[in-house]
Symmetry: C2
Subunit: 381 residues, 2 copies
Amino acid sequence: MENFKIDNPTIVHFGKGVVGDLGNVVSAYGKKVFLVYGKGSVKKNGIYDAVMQSLKEAGGEVSEFSGIRPNPVIGDVDAAAAAGREFRPDIILAVGGGSVLDSAKIISVTIPVDHSGWLFMKNKAKPASAIPVVAVLTLAATGSEMNPFAVIQNHETKEKLGWGNRLCYPAHSFLDPSYTFSVPKDYTAYGITDLMAHALENFFGEGEASLSDRFVFSVMKEAIEYGPLLLNDLYSYRLREKIMYAATMALNGLTLYGRKYGDWGVHSIGHVISLLFDTAHGATLSMAYPAWLKLHQERIPGRIGELGRAVFDTGDPGETISNLEDFFKSIGSPVRLDEAGISDKDKEALLPVMIRNQVGGNHHKLSDRDREKILEYMAGR
Amino acid sequence: MENFKIDNPTIVHFGKGVVGDLGNVVSAYGKKVFLVYGKGSVKKNGIYDAVMQSLKEAGGEVSEFSGIRPNPVIGDVDAAAAAGREFRPDIILAVGGGSVLDSAKIISVTIPVDHSGWLFMKNKAKPASAIPVVAVLTLAATGSEMNPFAVIQNHETKEKLGWGNRLCYPAHSFLDPSYTFSVPKDYTAYGITDLMAHALENFFGEGEASLSDRFVFSVMKEAIEYGPLLLNDLYSYRLREKIMYAATMALNGLTLYGRKYGDWGVHSIGHVISLLFDTAHGATLSMAYPAWLKLHQERIPGRIGELGRAVFDTGDPGETISNLEDFFKSIGSPVRLDEAGISDKDKEALLPVMIRNQVGGNHHKLSDRDREKILEYMAGR
């Protein structure tokens, strides 16, 4: 193993009704709460009211910024930061899924400065301080609730970047599985794909770390056992709970400790698809992961076989890949571009951006020919 | 699952040479370092020198308390607290295995008060503050490096108690696998037994938590795969590393989240054996766990079978138990009282103390007849 540090400061409050404590937790940081959320679904499903109730009881003064989009954009982040700069919050309260949480993280470091948050994402500036973020999670998928990472896109530069800084761990995250009841079937499936992809990115990273491998398998088996059951029973607290917890553990460090880094090549491919076609993040991963694995089938058969033995009861790399692809298909997460509404003609736009953005992994680099092949696999050829 | 909180503040520094950072980390708390260690093996293997070197470079002022015994006693803890009260340390630096770390935790809450630490252990007093503890671990076993628990014995009252308080998490723990090179074969094996027993105590606790179950299996499989290899290669960094990391993850919360509590019945039996015969903690557990399982074989066959399927490739409860017993035997951890030098005659002393101390679990209670049966199983009948 590589030397590593376990230093994850996020306090997670998990379970039914935990948001009742939100006001108390938030008020420890001060009265001024900058509430960030998405396009208003939290107003329909009662989560907004529960949050406001808890804040009100604790005497919070709330300023709101809403309208954060799925596949969040830097324009929204900068606009929110400008509003936050005027309000001077003690705390940012992010209520939503990964898009809202990721945006809140960049807002938290952008409020104290006088430039776009994009400079941080491009590593052209380094944050010196952050407004603390508290999260109320409404979607099980990204793991953003217990890590310091954010993924934001910039349509002007045609980039979608992942970035992290220790300042960006949420101080507290509230995870009530019943808050994900109203997530529709397709996005529930994309969340399952996403959490599995996170475990896989770490598994295919650099460095031997056998216990972290076992944690990868644990998270994947949980998703494979309970994910399909959940899709047939969207209001099952017990099943929502299992997927929500698995998503958090997939990307909070546990599946990585002892490795140099995760790979993240598949995510970088997925990001290009989302950037060009606004495809749901999880849906891009169920197309890109099998394709990436097919490209690597003969390069790292041993590693793919290890995964297969632990998760799919087969040591054969090819069978492992088709098992994974079949699983994604079975939960309704697309495995071919046309299933995500991306035609052969649309597809032509992908390769140039994949090349320009130099998509590829930290561990497994990709050549232009590799990128082309991955596209062919995703097109089903 | 039960509602739960993930809130483990210990920062773990894992890997070769991490103690080089110790001085810097410690000096953030102040200059006055109260160094607590055992009977001096750290002076023989060079660990004491490395620690002092790092402290010296950071300008620390060190006062020492040495002589903490394995199976630590409250008398030592109180004596150390008295010395600490005079010195008024900014930080307690615990260098050793679980006994030293556990003692340091109780010392840390006893220095600020004017009574014995035993009152905390008996829940007759509640600590209001603690001197921060930094740990340098020299034995992979107890998990004390990343949890708030301490086990201390009191020969006067014939009690050995486990106790924990949030104040007692180490602030930092330094885990360099090479610091465990000089642990002899028998104590290395007892450490393996101990970490497996921790995972099992949580597995047999109350409440359904499937992902925590998988983490239990992960930790156990790691111990079963690499433990025997380590015993034949005590100076293998790679193998020391695997066991050290597994021991930490066995009892830092990960194997418990979502359950009401662990069982800990087997530990309470083991504590009585240590109390009366000063038997190494891990050695008591390899005798008590198979015996406890035999008692429960017909009470919870499904649960034992789950463990067997995941870890031993058998769903049969009886085979699961004999596999576990055989494993302990194979690593040289005793499975019968006579193997630990406890004769049939000695054995007579155990039952009255087991009854008086009401040994048993949080989830699986034991009757006097159960206690007697467990003793019979441990005697090989």
